[in-house]
Symmetry: C2
Subunit: 122 residues, 2 copies
């Protein structure tokens, strides 16, 4: 039987940070939930946009343009942002923050397969 995917229930199944869990497939993309806290690394994805939706908490996405100029987007609950393909970014969360992220299946979360976490499925 098809079943709804309850994002809060999925998020209750783990505690670790920066380890996206796949909860659905969509057109070759992984739909994931993730808990984040602290600062991630600066990275970019040369081949894909990066979708962030905050469920609770607060996420700052630091951005750096091709000329090296920095800006930032601050997301609260119910807010989303798509980092365009190729744009350098660094997610930061002062408090634990819960997100939905969407990326093509197999995209390294750090931008580098050598340092990326393996995305498990819930």
């Amino acid at each position: 039987m098809p079943a709804a995917i309850d994002l809060a229930q999925k998020l209750s199944l783990f505690t670790e940070h920066w380890t996206p869990k796949v909860v659905a497939d969509f057109n070759g993309h992984d739909v994931m939930v993730v808990k984040v806290k602290g600062e991630f690394n600066w990275h970019s994805h040369p081949d894909t946009d990066d979708f962030f939706l905050v469920l609770n908490g607060r996420l700052t996405i630091r951005l750096r343009d091709a000329q090296g100029a920095e800006s930032a987007v601050i997301l609260g609950p119910g807010e989303l942002y798509v980092v365009p393909k190729g744009v350098e970014h660094c997610p930061v969360a002062e408090e634990e923050t819960h997100l939905v992220i969407i990326e093509p299946a197999g995209t390294p979360n750090t931008g580098d397969p050598a340092t990326a976490v393996v995305k498990t499925r819930l």
Copy 2:
């Protein structure tokens, strides 16, 4: 300056039902918000999965398999479902329900370009 997309604020800008509004672009897809109430039509999308996330309210997605057998998924707030490519479905909402939906840009919402609404951008 890049800015967060506040889904509730976007939803406050219109009142009509079944008219998706594009709020972001993601890898050739439209990220949309939509208000729904009542029953839509049975349709399918031969070339794309169909992403539904409920923000508030309650959505029933009736589903019909290739043998004609019916089932349904019921989504409350914070729940999502992806209707696989080619699967016949009919969304129904007894009360006004607010959704995020994601489809490739240009996908007819009814499954048929002749009856589809034009998706405007907010």
